[in-house]
């Protein structure tokens, strides 16, 4: 899932200040799960902004609406009517959702209310970890299902750096050493031999380094 966190209220207030009719638009998928932009977070942010602006003596109408996904036109259409009734939209989706809304409503400013952080996993309620960089060329099959690109601070592909302490990273003490995990898991899978094969330097052309990427599935395009 995409993990994000809501921007500080002061920053949001500064972003929405020029507008009189603001729609806070939630997204009911990834950012809902990480408590950044679902229906509940929309309600709390709207209430907090109303209180804060009222205290400042600024008149602003704040409307609330949440759709299932802001990155799909099918769901965006559901919000078209309420978007048209406002002079600005504060999107609590990830960056993709913000842009998907913006490109469909040319005359309404669409503003970000969330900082999109990483692709991650819900470890337990309220705790998320980064697991994928979206490099475009997955190597998890070699490394026992643990990604050294994302989870090793040095992105090492041919063994550990030697600096880890009791299974934890020397760069960030609370982070498990990816290579410690890779070796343990490869052992338990009986696939330690996988790690004896030299892995050449990663070809980053499939990553975002080559500019924005596209995925085309001809079989689904009519």
């Amino acid at each position: 899932m995409i993990v994000g966190e809501q921007k500080p209220i002061a920053e949001i207030k500064a972003i929405v200040k020029p507008y009189k009719k603001l729609l806070i638009l939630g997204c009911g998928t990834c950012v809902k799960t990480c408590f950044a932009g679902g229906e509940d977070e929309v309600a709390v942010l709207a209430s907090a902004l109303r209180l804060s602006f009222k205290k400042d003596g600024k008149a602003i109408d704040i409307a609330e609406y949440t759709i299932e996904r802001q990155c799909e036109n099918e769901f965006i259409q559901e919000a078209a009517k309420v978007i048209a009734q406002n002079d600005s939209v504060l999107s609590l989706a990830c960056g993709a959702g913000v842009q998907a809304i913006a490109r469909r409503f040319a005359k309404i400013p669409v503003l970000p209310g969330v900082n999109t952080t990483f692709l991650g996993v819900l470890e337990r309620q309220g705790f998320f970890t980064e697991e994928c960089t979206g490099c475009g060329n997955c190597v998890l099959g070699i490394f026992g299902g643990i990604c050294p690109i994302t989870r090793c601070a040095k992105k090492l592909l041919n063994g550990p750096c030697g600096g880890s302490q009791k299974g934890y990273c020397e760069i960030k003490a609370e982070t498990e050493c990816a290579w410690h995990l890779i070796i343990d898991r490869s052992k338990s899978l009986g696939q330690l031999n996988n790690l004896t094969t030299y892995v050449p330097p990663k070809d980053w052309r499939s990553s975002n380094s080559g500019g924005p990427r596209r995925l085309v599935r001809e079989d689904h395009i009519i």
Binding site: P8, I9, D40, V44, L49, R50, L51
Partner: protein, 134 residues
């Protein structure tokens, strides 16, 4: 502060933390508009509920829950505490002052505690004044 100012306090409480009848005599003794909201368990306290109380005009919001480790539903009061603390920080962030919101642990035997907490809250309001977002 206006001379006829009568503080408005919204009080959310778990039905297992004290007897609501305690407020009947209190209303006569203390000049306060008290809006009491009973909850089956303090886990029903949500961020938005606390904020809506301020939007509705409360000058202060109190949350009264069972003592730690004594929640009938195991962790309701822990959830209430965490959510209340989060909203307190939000109130500070938006300039309403987190002191307007407080949470207290109490049991049915603490018959003096509710009035004492309300008196303390009134003292805080004396310092802060009315809800500036009304």
């Amino acid at each position: 502060m206006e001379p006829n100012y009568k503080p408005k306090i919204a009080l959310f409480h778990c039905i297992n933390s004290f007897n609501e009848g305690l407020f009947l005599p209190l209303n006569g003794r203390v000049d306060v508009a008290l809006n009491v909201i009973r909850l089956a368990c303090s886990s029903m306290i949500k961020d938005i509920v606390l904020l809506k109380a301020f939007e509705a005009g409360a000058d202060a919001v109190l949350v009264m829950v069972c003592p730690e480790g004594q929640c009938r539903y195991v962790e309701g009061n822990i959830r209430a505490k965490k959510r209340t603390q989060w909203v307190k920080s939000l109130l500070d962030e938006i300039g309403l002052d987190g002191r307007r919101l407080s949470i207290s642990h109490m049991s049915l035997q603490d018959t003096d505690a509710p009035e004492q907490i309300i008196q303390e809250t009134l003292a805080v309001l004396n310092d802060l004044g009315p809800n500036p977002a009304v």
